[in-house]
């Protein structure tokens, strides 16, 4: 069973439906026991980093996520959920993330030329940087759906794919059993569903 962690940000109906579409049972949950029992975890998120990080901490689920990830349970962060996997974010101040991946979140405005719209909203293509179990069904140049104003930087160690929006922006990351997509696989049609399917097929790694 997959646990979609519900800490009060965003609508998780589409995400849950996308797993159903690939024949996987996913529960939207805020029950720590259920998170501990799940085979794999999804950390979703939309909105502002600080608000989301505060809510996750207030729910106590942040510790459960970190501990389960440390045990080798596959974890996939999506959009803001992916950003929270990193050490910190510079969205309206400096806020601490879960620190599961090395790197930080900075405004895309610092990287892209002036004149491009922010947020990046729409379908953009993936440039695969490194082979990974998460992208085993993905093709170079495949389009996925993005909505974001911030992106991960200094994350070379986990970088799997980038997307070009005036500059290369982090699209996909992964290290060990911890993965993240800046885009929305649940809104990226077939290309997105294949990424979710790949995630569902990952072996549960042994404790490092």
């Amino acid at each position: 069973m997959i646990a979609i962690i519900d800490y009060g940000v965003g609508n998780l109906f589409s995400l849950q439906s996308s797993f159903a579409a690939i024949g996987q049972e996913a529960a939207v949950t805020r029950d720590i026991d259920e998170i501990r029992r799940a085979d794999r975890l999804i950390l979703p998120g939309v909105g502002a980093f600080r608000d989301a990080a505060d809510k996750l901490r207030a729910s106590g689920m942040d510790r459960a996520v970190k501990e389960e990830a440390a045990k080798g349970k596959p974890l996939l962060g999506i959009c803001l959920g992916m950003q929270m996997l990193f050490e910190r974010s510079h969205e309206y101040g400096v806020h601490e993330g879960l620190g599961l991946l090395k790197g930080e979140i900075r405004p895309i405005a610092e990287k892209i030329p002036a004149g491009l719209k922010i947020p990046q909203m729409g379908w953009n293509s993936l440039k695969i940087v490194k082979d990974s179990p998460l992208l085993k069904y993905s093709r170079e140049g495949e389009y996925v759906y993005f909505v974001h104003s911030y992106s991960a930087v200094d994350c070379e160690e986990s970088l799997l794919a980038v997307t070009e929006y005036g500059a290369d922006l982090t699209a996909c990351v992964g290290k060990g059993n911890v993965y993240g997509c800046q885009f929305h696989p649940e809104k990226s049609e077939e290309a997105g569903l294949r990424i979710l399917k790949a995630f569902c097929e990952m072996e549960v790694a042994s404790v490092c």
Binding site: N11, F13, S17, P119, M121, G122, Y145, S188
Partner: protein, 252 residues
């Protein structure tokens, strides 16, 4: 490279898709869920559902349709029609909408855009405007194009974007249903006034109209249409191939 989006719009009344020509004469096309799936399978980048039902029964039917669509279609879904309060935002977001479009509701309560943006994020709030030239000035019309508010269009769009609208759908009532191309003059003004994505609506009659749009106005992010897609006059896949041939980035 980010692509230009092609968005079919489904007007839904009493559980069926309809399309108004110049906002009159409604004709039934198909089941919204089936049509949505068809479009998603055939290259639509996003879908817009407008609820044009007035009754409570119709509204409940609409949310059922929305839920069913979100279960089977995995591209972004924008919902509009009858959005007057943040509770309305909540109602459609829970049924699987990704973005919510406000039109008359924002005119009635100008604080709605700001309130919704704070609750759900700018990316979730789409401002939709019906614009018509009156004595040479672009004016905002309310209530599905039936009422001239007297407000100057560009000023209104700028104000709502300032409040937090993350995207703007610009529907020209002068070109809507006429199938002679998008309203480039109006769209250019809007693109010059705001930095958020702009979606052109009203006037597409053939593939060439989209090519002209994206070539003339690089600031336009997406083209929206209804009847030409519903009646098969333009197939989205054909349109996108033609866009690519013309150097306009499209997802195929």
């Amino acid at each position: 490279m980010i692509t230009k989006r092609i968005i079919p719009c489904l007007d839904v009344k009493d559980g069926r898709v309809v399309k108004g020509v110049n906002f009159q004469k409604l004709g039934d096309v198909a089941s919204p869920v089936e049509l949505a799936k068809y479009y998603s399978d055939n290259g639509a980048d996003e879908l817009v559902f407008y609820d044009i039902t007035a009754s409570a029964e119709g509204r409940a039917l609409f949310t059922d349709i929305l839920t069913e669509t979100a279960r089977t279609v995995f591209i972004p879904l924008t919902v509009g029609g009858g959005i007057n309060t943040t509770d309305d935002f909540d109602r459609v977001l829970k049924c699987g909408a990704d973005k919510v479009s406000v039109n008359s509701g924002a005119i009635r309560d100008p604080s709605l855009v700001g309130k919704a943006a704070k609750l759900y994020g700018d990316q979730c709030v789409v401002l939709s405007v019906d614009v018509k030239r009156v004595d040479g000035v672009f004016r905002i019309f309310a209530k599905g194009g039936r009422e001239n508010t007297g407000m100057e269009a560009i000023e209104w769009v700028r104000r709502c974007v300032g409040e937090g609208a993350g995207e703007v759908v610009v529907n020209s009532m002068d070109t809507d249903g006429v199938k002679q191309g998008f309203d480039l003059e109006l769209l250019e003004k809007v693109c010059g006034a705001v930095q958020v994505p702009v979606i052109a609506s009203g006037g597409a009659g053939c593939i060439e109209d989209f090519i002209t749009l994206f070539r003339a106005l690089p600031g336009v992010d997406a083209g929206l249409a209804a009847s030409i897609f519903h009646f098969g006059e333009v197939r989205i896949n054909d349109l996108k191939r033609e866009m690519q041939k013309n150097g306009i980035p499209a997802r195929i």
